[in-house]
């Protein structure tokens, strides 16, 4: 697989310009940039407190009207779409241009623009029809993007898994919307919001369907299996958008539907929070020992989605118990982390894309020492790693801090979460420690030390078309780190909408602690700068020499610690057996060892142990139905006639002729 990629990157640089590719790139990038920047103004107005707006159009072809709207909840989720998409598009313009002449760039840009438009439509849709149409546009267009490099087996497999997973998830959503629509007497979200009093069982079923359908898109364990396959296979700017933005729309859908159901039932919050925490633990345990840099990032996305789900779950829990302040705190923590994760994960995926572009490698064991050859990408990746490991003074820390605080406050309050929430905080600390290992390993093995292969030694820095979007994202991360209060102020309308409170109360709860935190981040940055200044003054004589090899005279880059050995203490000893990497080896024996072999693989245990056997068996069962597939038109016409007759007969027997 990696060899193929390598070849591609070697060969592409020679081919000249070709007008079709240029126009596809220019149009593709321009459409996204213009669309998103144009849409930023109304979103900013709504975030600033303007009244929600909506548009209704008569629509003959489907049930109901065409109805879209913009309220604070939509605006909060639109913001990352509108900010990250144009940056990803500009980056992708340069990234994909190297495929010109070999692949049709139209085939990349058409689905990309549909993808961005689909995401926007999902968030502003106000009827189930528009929502599901946009949802499908989003899923299908990303299928084409995941499978863009379809000459390789890996993207084909990833695209297939993604397609199946999306549609299984969508099936639950169809069922959910039909159930709600049946009760509400229409498919417009306004009808849903006016639903009469509902029984706990019915609401519970709706919540369960939403949790499965939207959870699959959000990558919550155990519905995450598509994510670590699809995100690495897609071109990097698409991975950035999928991981940074698209999977959040699963949580948007969940919040939207929960909003229709009135006050949450007592079990929803704890369920979502537990699922979130378990997802985070599961995903970080696997992220820790992946060898593919983009798979590390994909698992880290699942982990972060788990953290957001934990926060939102706490919010629902507090709402169910009628505790407005903890609810406001937890929901804002979740929404803040949505934004923070969107920018830092896009940054990391774009940086990983630059590494792939510059070396042709995604396997971290074949990289190393890139900081010297790719200083800008390296710096951005390093800062992104600090942010995503939730360390101060970066933005990841602010939202993680909010999540900790919600958990602790909810655990300490008299009729709150109690013991489970307090112990959950301990597990969150464990997640934090594991994430730190994951990103020390990723940044350290990829960027530092000496190059492990010639590809890594000959790496080249990317052009500014690719670096500039990363620098903008880095700037946004720093901004969110020192001024989290400003962001939370923008999100307070949505928090108020979700918790059924009002905007000023929400702002009063969250702004003071975030102000302190922003100041703390600024203090850490200032102290670091001061220390650096002091160090520059202190250093007297600095000479250079080789690394001290503890007396070993002929060191090479191969004696370095590898990603596998770096993770080994935790991955091979501490993790539960199912989550460990699979290792097959023949150790060298005797004085003249004949052959030795070491192979390590980190597959997803759920995929290999549950889903693959299950779908294999299903596939075997269904292959018996192949007798139906005769390949003759008259047989198929016969089937249609039979189905038609059966349906007519059924309708006649139910006596429903005139009614429906």
């Amino acid at each position: 697989m990696h060899k193929d990629v390598n070849m591609v990157y070697r060969n592409i640089r020679i081919s000249g310009s070709d007008p079709r590719s240029i126009s596809a790139t220019v149009v593709g990038v321009a459409v996204t940039v213009v669309l998103c920047l144009g849409a930023l103004a109304p979103v900013a107005r709504v975030l600033g407190g303007a009244r929600p707006a909506s548009v209704r159009l008569a629509w003959d072809s489907f049930h109901g009207e065409f109805h879209v709207g913009l309220d604070p909840l939509s605006a909060v989720f639109l913001l990352p779409i509108l900010v990250v998409s144009p940056l990803a598009a500009v980056y992708g313009g340069c990234y994909l241009y190297s495929f010109r002449g070999r692949k049709s760039l139209v085939a990349a840009w058409l689905p990309f623009n549909l993808f961005v438009a689909g995401m926007i439509m999902v968030v502003i849709a106000r009827t189930a029809i528009v929502f599901m149409t946009a949802w499908e546009i989003m899923s299908l267009s990303t299928f084409f993007l995941v499978a863009f490099e379809d000459e390789n087996a890996e993207p084909r497999r990833a695209g297939w898994i993604y397609l199946v997973a999306s549609h299984l998830g969508a099936a639950f959503l169809f069922a959910m919307f039909m159930l709600i629509g049946g009760r509400a007497g229409g498919l417009d979200f306004d009808d849903f919001a006016r639903l009469p009093a509902r029984g706990p069982v019915w609401s519970g079923v709706i919540f369960g369907l939403a949790l499965v359908g939207f959870g699959a898109k959000a990558g919550l364990v155990p519905l995450h299996a598509w994510l670590p396959e699809a995100h690495p296979a897609a071109p990097s700017h698409v991975s950035a958008l999928m991981s940074g933005v698209m999977i959040k729309l699963g949580l948007y859908g969940l919040l939207r539907v929960v909003g229709f159901l009135g006050r949450p039932a007592p079990w929803w919050g704890p369920t979502l929070a537990t699922l979130g925490l378990l997802s985070a633990l599961f995903a970080v345990a696997l992220a820790l020992h992946q060898r593919d840099a983009k798979r590390v990032l994909a698992y880290s996305s699942i982990e972060n989605m788990g953290l957001i789900a934990l926060a939102l779950g706490l919010g629902l829990w507090a709402m169910a118990k009628g505790a407005p302040e903890p609810a406001v705190m937890a929901i804002s923590a979740g929404l803040l982390h949505v934004w923070n994760h969107a920018i830092m994960k896009s940054l990391m995926f774009l940086a990983a894309g630059c590494v792939l572009h510059g070396t042709g490698e995604r396997n971290i064991e074949k990289l190393g020492g890139l900081m010297k050859r790719m200083p800008w990408t390296g710096g951005a990746m390093m800062a992104g790693a600090v942010a995503i490991a939730a360390l101060p003074p970066m933005n990841g820390f602010t939202s993680k801090w909010m999540i900790y605080m919600s958990l602790l406050k909810w655990g300490l309050s008299t009729d709150g979460g109690g013991l489970p929430a307090l112990l959950g905080a301990g597990l969150l600390a464990l997640v934090g420690g594991l994430v730190a290992i994951t990103f020390v390993r990723l940044a350290g093995i990829v960027l530092l030390g000496s190059p492990r292969t010639t590809d890594a030694a000959n790496a080249h820095e990317s052009s500014w078309w690719m670096l500039a979007p990363m620098m903008i994202l880095l700037g946004l991360c720093l901004g969110a780190a020192v001024a989290p209060g400003a962001l939370a102020g923008l999100f307070s309308g949505a928090v108020a909408q979700i918790t059924a409170g009002d905007r000023t109360t929400a702002a009063r709860v969250i702004l003071p602690p975030l102000g302190t935190l922003g100041a703390t981040n600024a203090l850490v940055i200032a102290m670091l700068a001061a220390a650096m200044g002091g160090m520059a003054a202190l250093t007297r004589v600095a000479t250079t020499g080789p690394t001290w090899g503890c007396g070993y005279a002929a060191p090479s880059s191969r004696i370095q610690y590898t990603g596998g050995s770096f993770a080994a203490t935790v991955a091979l000893k501490l993790l539960p057996r199912v989550l460990r990497p699979r290792i097959s080896q023949i150790a060298p024996r005797g004085l003249f060892p004949a052959r030795a072999l070491f192979h390590s693989d980190s597959p997803d245990p759920l995929t290999t142990r549950v889903y693959e056997p299950f779908f294999q068996r299903m596939g075997d069962r269904f292959s018996r139905l192949r007798v139906l597939q005769q390949g003759q038109v008259n047989v198929y016409l016969g089937y249609i006639v039979v189905v038609l007759l059966v349906t007519l007969a059924w309708a006649a027997f139910r006596g429903g002729w005139g009614r429906s």
């Binding site: 020492g369 900081m371 390093m382 600090v386 490991a389 939730a390 360390l391 101060p392 993680k400 801090w401 900790y404 605080m405 602790l408 406050k409 300490l412 109690g418 013991l419 307090l422 112990l423 905080a425 301990g426 597990l427 600390a429 464990l430 420690g433 730190a436 290992i437 020390v440 350290g444 530092l448 000496s450 602690p513 302190t516 703390t520 203090l523 850490v524 102290m527 670091l528 220390a531 650096m532 160090m535 007297r540 004589v541 600095a542 000479t543 250079t544 020499g545 080789p546 690394t547 001290w548 503890c550 370095q560 610690y561 050995s565 770096f566 993770a567 203490t569 935790v570 000893k573 501490l574």
Partner: protein, 305 residues
């Protein structure tokens, strides 16, 4: 006025006292072994000497290598400003500062480990791998201990959690407090690379944890690393002392003297532990750390009534 004076004393103690703890530990070990031992102020002389030296920087390294010791020292100093010493509060204190404390130490470790990987040396990579692996178990143990204090005092600021109200709980919830003291003492030994987890004086690189990670640093950078290690030891000892002696802490300047004596007692205790114990096998370290996590978790569970 009193508050400002206490703040000045806090900063002075937090910056000046840490190397003394290393001296006390060394003298205690020498006493138990029947030797005279180095002067009590030897760590200060060492630091001064290091800060006057030039340094050698490996050709393999980048700016990350030079940033490592700086981040380590900055975070250690900031951490020492977060925990209350003798006074009712700390120079930097707000609701939720306990999380900042844990994550600041995490940031220091993050960059120390990256600086180690930057050298491209297998030994340093090994040290970094061990350090982060053990830290990820020490963190929950430490954090759950903080949760116990938060639950007892109802506060989420370190000043409140370790404040005057904690002392009264020794009468009612001593079981939880004993459990977290045990757990924290284990964490203290691990985080500060003391025997039985790590031996700061060993001469075999293969068995080291922290020391092997910083093999390539020299001159002022090494001085900074040793100084920040001393501050970290001071911070952890102060935390343990604040909990252990909370009942008899008193107020005003008595509290300061009680706390300083308490910290020195803990340094002596570390010296005694180092004298009577051998190093654990590396593979047994995680077991003990998991035990520390469980001790803290039981501390939390005992409070849930």
């Amino acid at each position: 006025m009193e508050a400002i004076a206490q703040g000045v004393v806090h900063v002075f103690l937090a910056l000046a006292l840490p190397p003394l703890l290393l001296g006390v530990i060394a003298r205690t070990k020498a006493f138990v072994a029947g030797r005279v031992g180095p002067p009590l102020l030897q760590p200060y002389y060492d630091l001064i000497r290091l800060f006057h030296k030039g340094s050698v920087i490996s050709e393999t390294t980048t700016w990350v290598f030079r940033l490592g010791p700086l981040v380590g020292m900055t975070t250690a100093v900031l951490a020492s400003l977060l925990i209350p010493l003798g006074g009712p509060t700390a120079p930097v204190s707000f609701a939720g500062d306990l999380i900042l404390l844990v994550y600041l130490l995490g940031l220091g470790r993050f960059f120390t480990a990256l600086a180690a990987l930057d050298t491209g040396s297998p030994f340093q990579g090994m040290g970094a791998a061990r350090e982060v692996a053990f830290a990820c178990l020490a963190e929950p143990a430490f954090f759950l201990g903080l949760v116990v204090l938060a639950k007892l005092t109802g506060s989420l600021a370190l000043a409140g959690m370790l404040g005057a109200s904690l002392g009264a709980h020794w009468a009612t919830d001593s079981a939880s407090l004993v459990l977290i003291l045990l757990s924290w003492f284990i964490v203290l030994l691990v985080e500060n690379s003391r025997i039985p987890f790590d031996d700061p004086n060993t001469h075999l690189e293969l068995t080291m944890i922290h020391e092997v990670m910083v093999l390539d640093h020299s001159g002022p950078a090494l001085g900074m690393i040793q100084y920040s290690a001393a501050i970290k030891l001071f911070v952890s000892s102060a935390l343990v002392a604040r909990v252990a002696f909370s009942a008899g802490l008193g107020s005003g300047w008595t509290a300061w003297s009680v706390l300083v004596i308490g910290i020195l007692v803990i340094a002596v205790l570390i010296g005694v532990v180092e004298s009577v114990m051998a190093r654990l096998r590396l593979s047994h370290v995680p077991t003990l750390l998991v035990a520390a996590c469980l001790l803290s978790a039981f501390g939390v569970i005992l409070l849930a009534r």
